[in-house]
């Protein structure tokens, strides 16, 4: 017994553990990267302003950024930007959430059951590659001028890349982890929830990041073909009267939404993938 206590010396450090990584160096406002970015943006805007003022002369062809900024401010003040932006945002989120959920379910079903994969594979490949926005007018006819037709357009834009990413994620699962689950008597469902789905999570979020831009395009296309409100509607109305500044306000708002939504999903993606970096 004495020998036993001798050998059991509590924590025996067999070797030094890998230290926790220091938090990534924060991007300072004055870092080389942000300086380059700011110069690039200012330079681009200046070039645009000069072209519009001294080369084109006609705001119906090209509005200078200064005019766009003023119109942006006016539309914020009178509430038209927020109202229309909110309509588009709701349509985007509605179609995005339904599309992501359906994409995950379909992708998972295709990996779990061979027959589902055999049945759907060709359809998914064809519809993912096809210029599917061409279906937008049909969807407007089916679902009317209200939000549901736009939700439908966003849905078809989002669902196919989500199916493909989910599939890729689930197929990348480490076989050894599946063996662990089987050895511990894991049911098929619990194995899916505890091994396959967490392994696929970074792929799924990456798919969401890629689809959000497609979803934005879907909203605008849907609204172009017929809507009572929304950023796409602003674009249609403004272009019919050659009101370039208003048109650009809608486009810039969409671009900003794209940057913000992609950024949010990107940071989520990096957090999920954190264990990959250190592993």
């Amino acid at each position: 017994m004495t020998q036993l206590t001798q050998t059991s010396g509590g924590l025996v450090t067999d070797d030094i553990p890998v230290p926790r990584r220091p938090p990534a160096a924060r991007k300072g406002l004055l870092s080389q990267r942000s300086i380059t970015q700011v110069i690039s943006i200012i330079g681009g805007l200046a070039l645009w302003e000069l072209l519009a003022r001294f080369a084109v002369h006609n705001t119906a062809f090209l509005a200078p950024p200064s005019l766009v900024a003023i119109r942006f401010y006016q539309m914020l003040r009178d509430g038209s930007l927020l109202f229309n932006g909110w309509v588009s945002f709701q349509e985007l989120i509605g179609g995005f959430v339904i599309g992501v959920a359906a994409g995950i379910i379909i992708g998972a079903a295709m990996v779990q059951w061979k027959q589902v994969d055999d049945a759907l594979e060709v359809w998914i490949a064809a519809l993912y590659a096809a210029p599917i926005v061409a279906l937008a007018p049909i969807l407007i006819i089916w679902f009317g001028f209200g939000p549901w037709s736009k939700i439908a357009v966003v849905f078809i834009m989002v669902v196919f890349p989500m199916v493909i990413c989910t599939q890729a994620g689930l197929e990348s699962v480490d076989r050894r982890l599946l063996l662990v689950a089987r050895s511990f008597c894991g049911s098929r469902w619990k194995t899916f929830l505890t091994v396959a789905l967490p392994s696929a999570a970074p792929f799924i979020v990456s798919g969401m990041r890629q689809s959000v831009g497609r979803g934005l395009v879907g909203v605008v296309i849907g609204e172009l073909f017929g809507a009572k409100a929304g950023l796409g509607n602003i674009i249609t109305t403004a272009s019919s009267v050659f009101d370039m500044p208003t048109l650009f306000v809608a486009v810039v708002t969409l671009a900003l939404a794209g940057i913000i939504l992609t950024g949010i999903l990107r940071s989520f993606e990096l957090r999920l993938a954190a264990w990959r970096d250190v592993a």
């Binding site: 020998q3 036993l4 001798q6 050998t7 059991s8 509590g10 924590l11 025996v12 067999d14 070797d15 030094i16 553990p17 890998v18 230290p19 926790r20 480490d174 050894r176 982890l177 063996l179 662990v180 689950a181 089987r182 050895s183 511990f184 008597c185 894991g186 049911s187 619990k190 194995t191 505890t194 091994v195 967490p198 999570a201 264990w275 990959r276 970096d277 250190v278 592993a279």
Partner: protein, 260 residues
């Protein structure tokens, strides 16, 4: 009375494009409760196949494996495997990796966490509960791997070359630690390795297998007193047993060369 019995166990794989590979042939072996068995043999002798069959991950193509008199057909709660590569879930913390088997078996977290905490103490990981596997060294990952198997409180613990990827010093330390844990838990252990000195240091009996087809060539008892501290490695009796086993394995190598 034997706890585990292999009765004429055989495993034949169908090769792609016809032909068969015989991984195991009429292998018989019985293991007593509380015994520490090491299986050594050259690569390709079917030792991992044997262990997977015992866990129920694979089904032998002939013969039967009994545990407590019942035939093994699938993985069960009376057996737990310590895998060769640590095979931890990289997104789970150390603590939640240890509770993984309990989670799958539907044990409530309220009960699972204290049990896992006890295992953390047993394998010497106090202070590392909330780390992720990527932050651990190879040796520490194998401690988690071991704790994950022990926490479900199996009758038999199966170890598939768990220290093969570790450096020599860490490996020896882990062997001593394993014996300490085994002394405290009194599980029946079946340990696979290709390193003879590891087998002799750990085992009550060393099963020597021959390759192609895999078969039990000899069973060598290790009558060295327990507990065995690290210094037991320098016991001359241990060297004698090691060279006996080495000779047996070399014999099996020349046999295969001659027969080919």
């Amino acid at each position: 009375m034997a706890l585990i019995e292999f009765i004429d166990v055989g495993m034949t794989y169908q090769r792609r494009g016809g032909g068969e590979t015989v991984a195991l042939e009429r292998t018989s072996l019985s293991i007593a409760p509380g015994e520490f068995i090491c299986i050594v043999g050259p690569s390709g002798c079917g030792k991992t196949t044997l262990l997977h069959c015992l866990d129920g991950l694979q089904t032998p193509t002939s013969g039967r494996i009994l545990i407590d008199g019942r035939e093994i057909t699938a993985p069960g709660r009376d057996r737990a495997m310590v895998f060769q590569s640590a095979s931890l879930m990289p997104w789970r913390t150390v603590l939640r990796n240890i509770t993984y088997g309990l989670d799958l078996q539907g044990v409530a977290l309220r009960e699972a966490l204290p049990r896992a905490q006890k295992m953390i103490e047993l394998v010497g990981l106090v202070g590392f509960e909330d780390r992720h596997p990527g932050e651990l060294s190879g040796g520490m990952q194998q401690r988690v791997n071991l704790a994950r198997a022990l926490v479900i409180d199996p009758e038999v613990i199966l170890l598939d070359e768990p220290f093969a990827a570790l450096d020599a010093q860490t490996r020896e330390l882990m062997q001593t630690e394993l014996l300490r844990v085994w002394d405290e838990t009194k599980k029946t252990a079946v340990f696979i390795t290709h390193q003879i000195s590891e087998a002799v240091y750990l085992a009550d009996r060393v099963v020597v297998m021959s390759a192609r087809p895999g078969n039990v060539k000899a069973i060598v008892p290790v009558p060295i007193a327990r507990p065995r501290p690290a210094s037991a490695r320098r016991d001359p009796q241990m060297f004698a047993i090691e060279s006996e086993i080495a000779a047996l394995i070399e014999g099996s190598h020349t046999e295969t060369v001659v027969s080919v």
